[in-house]
Symmetry: C2
Subunit: 324 residues, 2 copies
């Protein structure tokens, strides 16, 4: 990440995380090795490990315990991405062909499981505070799974509420950002106050991140996202801008009719986009994302001035401009 | 299992495992709860929890620590089954419609992950010997994943060797049986000698179990298996009887030609079966399964006479007659 050019000490830690990731996913089975290495080699932003490191730097930072945790969180995230791609039969992920598209569902399911195991193994090998970390991690993954299944359960339902949407993205995205901050701070023995501030930051950060992602999936700039656009819509997953429009008396009926159409060409997508835009759905979503960004910034105001705090604020700005 | 009618104390423990399973997979998310409960409610034989309990009974048996471990192993097994069904797009599992066939891949992927998390959580909550158990479990799952991916990698390869097949079934099946015995005995503080005897029993038991399963998949008795037959063959997964025949100079070429055919009706399957039978492939496989059963029996000869030992021997006989 460009941002880290100014912080060579943090970039160095991130480089070690990358090495750890590559080292961890080795397997004697050649295809496993290939797919696992591929899954973690793709150009992810590594936001979760970064948040672990930044949070830990606010306490007694010990790279020997922190970096494996940071890597483990990235492995968990990668595992859920690999599994996610099976579901939406995604052909691209992080700008590359997805595991499932290249090797089939078979390999993707077990590559994901393999990565998950490796993550658990790293955490279990990690001496300090084992038990507590562990439960947090597992809770987080459990919530992610519930979020993903809930997302499926709400497919094609035009009566989904904004509240239900927010709960869903909290589960499927924000919780892991929050846990990243929490675990880093906990390991580094930060005060309770700081731990909770960071966990709140992670949560709001994650909410803003996902809403922005959902807006971009609709407005559709493939070059920015590194993955196909409109995938949510085409799978019946209605995100905030759509849900907002569905609740807007003036646009609701027209949108419902469009969503029922079987034909899904470019024309169809543009029509939907126009409607959502007119209703103010895009604008509303952007504003809500901004609210979360402000909330995230407020959460970490109590932190002392330091590089971690500076970078955390810069990360918020990057979501706002979506330059990452 | 009928066998346990004569051992009400063990049946009681197994009933508690069942209750624990149901209790563990609860979720606030209604669909998650439904699919997870369904996955563990199907009529599995619960062989792995039984082996954990029987093994632990050879030492200082403490149901408070043993039963959660037994349940956790069953959860891991169930998770891999759910994921397995996505891969082979299986419509039946344990005589019921599979999760993926009922709810789609989406739900199946994350139901499997959810079950895996719950298993890890149970293990992590389990006080004694935490770390060591844990690593064993994770190693086992990692090996299962590698086995499954290897299976995929060898699809449609007619030059697969018997050795490669044995390695594959060791990874995908036998290892979890072995770990079940090992963990039970370890927790109950059995002597090293007994722990290793039990682990060897589990390994040979698992090998015999899988070879028998593979033979039945070919000879095709759906009522016994509770799952569709010939699925392996139709997916290009060649099991022992096929591999044996492929290496038989007299039948090899004819079988290869048959396997290349695109038409897969009943006639085709019968032709293959006849060829494999004539070559002695079915007989060879049955004999090899029997060798493993003998090996399993030999492994536990050193055990003192007790219910555990008796049941373990009865289990071997049940595989031989395949009455379970």
């Amino acid at each position: 990440m460009k941002l880290l050019n100014q912080y060579p000490n943090i970039q160095k830690e991130m480089d070690i995380v990358q090495e750890l990731l590559i080292k961890t996913v080795q397997s004697r089975q050649p295809l496993v090795k290939k797919t696992a290495v591929e899954a973690i080699s793709s150009k992810g932003k590594r936001l979760r490990p970064l948040l672990v490191i930044l949070s830990a730097m606010l306490g007694e930072y010990d790279s020997k315990t922190i970096l494996p945790l940071a890597a483990a969180i990235e492995l968990i995230h990668t595992a859920t991405l690999v599994h996610d791609d099976i579901i939406d039969e995604s052909k691209l992920r992080r700008g590359r062909e997805s595991i499932q598209s290249q090797w089939g569902k078979d390999v993707a399911v077990f590559t994901g499981d393999f990565l998950l195991c490796k993550a658990f193994f790293m955490i279990s090998q990690n001496g300090k505070g084992n038990q507590k970390d562990f439960s947090r991690f597992i809770q987080a993954i459990k919530i992610i799974c519930e979020g993903e299944i809930q997302q499926y359960d709400f497919r094609y339902k035009t009566n989904i509420t904004i509240r239900q949407y927010l709960k869903r993205i909290a589960a499927k995205t924000a919780i892991l950002f929050s846990v990243s901050c929490y675990i880093g701070a906990l390991q580094a023995k930060c005060s309770k106050k700081i731990i909770h501030a960071l966990a709140r930051y992670g949560m709001s950060f994650g909410m803003a991140f996902q809403i922005t992602d959902d807006v971009l999936d609709l407005t559709g700039e493939i070059s920015l996202l590194g993955k196909p656009v409109h995938t949510d819509l085409l799978q019946g997953i209605y995100t905030l801008p759509i849900i907002y429009t569905l609740q807007h008396s003036r646009y609701s009926e027209r949108l419902k009719k469009l969503l029922q159409k079987e034909e899904h060409g470019q024309q169809y997508l543009s029509e939907i986009y126009d409607l959502v835009n007119q209703s103010g759905g895009v604008e509303y979503s952007k504003q809500l994302a901004q609210k979360y960004l402000i909330r995230a910034e407020q959460a970490i105001r109590i932190l002392p001035d330091c590089d971690s705090k500076k970078i955390m604020i810069q990360l918020l700005e990057m979501i706002l401009d979506r330059t990452m």
